[in-house]
Amino acid sequence: MRILLAEDDAMLGDGLSAGLRQMGFLVDWVRDGVAAERELVSGNYAAAVLDLGLPKKDGLDVLQSLRRSKIATPVLVLTARDAVPDRVRGLDLGADDYVIKPVDLTELGARLRSLVRRSHGQVQDTLRCGAVLLEPASRQVSLNGELVVLSTREFDLLHVLFLNAGRVLSREQLEQKLYSWGYEVDSNAIEVHIHHLRRKLLPDLIQTVRGVGYTVPRTSESA
């Protein structure tokens, strides 16, 4: 899952991005409000962690203008402002969660997963498509109850497809959701990963819509 981290403090930002990466998140880190807004407008992020006291543009202002332009990316506000009116204002302006510093990294990860899940209309913490079960928290995938070992990238790709079950995602969309800054993406990287997933799981799990992209069928929520 690609996450945008907006935090102006170098030490904290460094710690948060390293910690979230350890948990398997793809993290892009910006240090001011203007950059945060510019990146979030692109819509490539599954969620954002937003500090409020950002230089150039305050976090709450960023949040407000995002929601005004109908950008629904889940936003977790991470701040030291703990007064109740601040929290209320943050949530009213469109924050999906409001967390006071300091925060436990595992809790932050869980909250982000929960935000992403809910933003895709999922209720349960596991995703299922036919015989394939995906557990985002433990980053495990099983086929008919047996664990299947996937690479990080393969897991992320499957996660994105499962979250968007029933929708067709183009190669470019998948690339943007899977690669954070600084990665040179091979033009056929997605195809290679799809190929591996089909081989490791089921050949007909991921369908190719010729000229458009890839999709997994939407199934009932029964796990």
Partner: protein, 448 residues
């Protein structure tokens, strides 16, 4: 302030004043009426005496009998009035209450005498043109006094009766007049401790407006102070929580690094740096808190040049590490009033700031000079300087220049300003004419 014996209630004071003044005016009026009435009465009654005497003279000029006649007493006032008529020194007629001796020794005119009966009499003497007629008419002065008393009584009695009524009416009127004051005190008493919105009374009398206005201004000042304290608490929470959050996150990263040794090392390094920052911040906050209550007169005379030299020596290694040139121009001893520790903190903050916000290889010049009898400490640098807006915000607690990556606490300038206030030092910022960057000037008051 309480004066013994003076009523402290405004209402009682006004009432006493009012009633006292009314009584005084009444007494004055009574005195005036008394003297006026007496004068008029004297004239009137004297006129009557003279008239009566004239009548007797006319009558006696035509009377022939020589027997002494006693006139009958015809009125209850008659005993108070008396007359005698003499012909050639012989008493020929008198009222019953007049003795045989002449009531007056005078030849003509008015006289007030005490007669044999012990009473005081007003006597008028006149002579006829013929036969040597002498007429003496008298009247007891007592009667005049009793008339006057009657007049005064009839005037003062209603006044005395009216006084309590007037007091009651006055009490009510004063109470009505003071109603806005009571309203104000009621309004203020009802307030919560930090309710600082301005007081607004409908139909406020103009006399109260300056007071209420002053009160509102006071509220405004307190409100600004409270708001600033609240902002400080919020900012301090933010500044303290951020390094702690960083320490926690980095420690967790180190724990979760597993086989990744470089990542663990990096996380632990940052953890230590964040701890240092938290310690620095706490020290700055404590210093600021201590400065809030520095005893104002604990200062001694000290040499500013020595302090500047010591601080510059302390900071030289850092300057070398950053390839900066730190120059000191403080050859002459400059005695100022201050505290060595606090002035040291002040100078260190200024030089530290100049170095931090100037690029590598920059020059920082510190000079201590005496200009026009005033001691001036100047810290200049060749850095980017500041805009006017940035300079005006210096000293706001936790204000940091945007885009600067320096891990300052944002409290340095607050501390500088506070120490300057303590020692009455004037603080100025501007652009350095020699180095082009920021110049900070501190002017000490004339040392005496």
């Amino acid at each position: 302030m309480k004066h013994p014996g003076r009523p402290t209630s405004l209402q009682a004071r006004l009432l006493v004043l009012l009633l006292g003044l009314v009584t005084l005016v009444w007494l004055g009026a009574a005195l005036l009426i008394w003297s006026d009435a007496r004068h008029e009465l004297d004239e009137l009654l004297d006129g009557h005496l003279a008239q009566a005497a004239a009548l007797l003279v006319v009558q006696q000029t035509h009377a022939e009998d020589d027997a002494v006649a006693d006139a009958p007493s015809l009125h209850k006032y008659a005993p108070r009035v008396a007359f005698q008529v003499f012909h050639d020194g012989q008493l020929v007629m008198r009222s019953a209450n007049a003795g045989t001796a002449p009531m007056s020794t005078r030849n003509r005119g008015f006289e007030t005498v005490r007669l044999a009966d012990g009473a005081q009499w007003r006597v008028f003497v006149t002579r006829g043109a013929q036969r040597d007629v002498l007429v003496v008419v008298g009247e007891q002065t007592d009667s005049r006094s009793s008339i006057l008393w009657a007049v005064l009584r009839s005037m003062l009695l209603p006044m005395i009766l009216a006084l309590p009524l007037l007091g009651l009416a006055g009490w009510w009127a004063v109470r009505q007049g003071l109603a806005p004051l009571r309203q104000l005190s009621h309004l203020l008493r009802q307030r919560r401790a930090l309710a600082l919105e301005p007081v607004d009374l409908p139909n406020m009398p103009s006399e109260m407006q300056p007071m209420v206005q002053a009160l509102n201004e006071l509220f405004e000042r307190i409100e600004r102070m409270v708001a600033s304290e609240r902002r400080f608490t919020a900012d301090a929470a933010h500044e303290l929580r951020t390094p702690i959050a960083a320490i926690r996150a980095q420690a967790q990263v180190a724990l979760g690094a597993g086989e990744d040794q470089p990542q663990r090392d990096h996380a632990l390094q940052v953890t230590l740096a964040a701890c240092d920052r938290a310690v620095h911040l706490v020290e700055q906050l404590l210093l600021l808190a201590r400065l809030e209550s520095v005893p104002a007169k604990r200062f001694s005379s000290m040499d500013l040049s020595t302090v500047a030299r010591r601080v510059a020596a302390d900071l030289t290694p850092t300057a070398i590490a950053w390839h900066q040139t730190l120059e000191l121009d403080a050859d002459q001893p400059c005695s100022v009033v201050g505290d060595e520790m606090l002035i040291g903190v002040l100078v260190r903050n200024l030089i530290d700031n100049a170095m931090r916000y100037s690029p590598d290889g920059a020059r920082v010049l510190v000079s201590v000079v005496t200009e026009n009898g005033k001691t001036v400490l100047r810290v200049e640098d060749s850095g980017p300087g500041m805009t006017g807006a940035e300079m005006s915000r210096l000293g706001e607690r936790f204000y940091r220049l945007l885009g600067s990556d320096q891990p300052g606490s944002g409290l340095g300038w607050s501390i500088v300003k506070r120490i300057c206030d303590v020692f009455d030092v004037k603080f100025e910022t501007g652009r350095s004419s020699s180095l082009g960057g920021l110049a900070v000037m501190l002017y000490w008051p004339d040392a005496r």
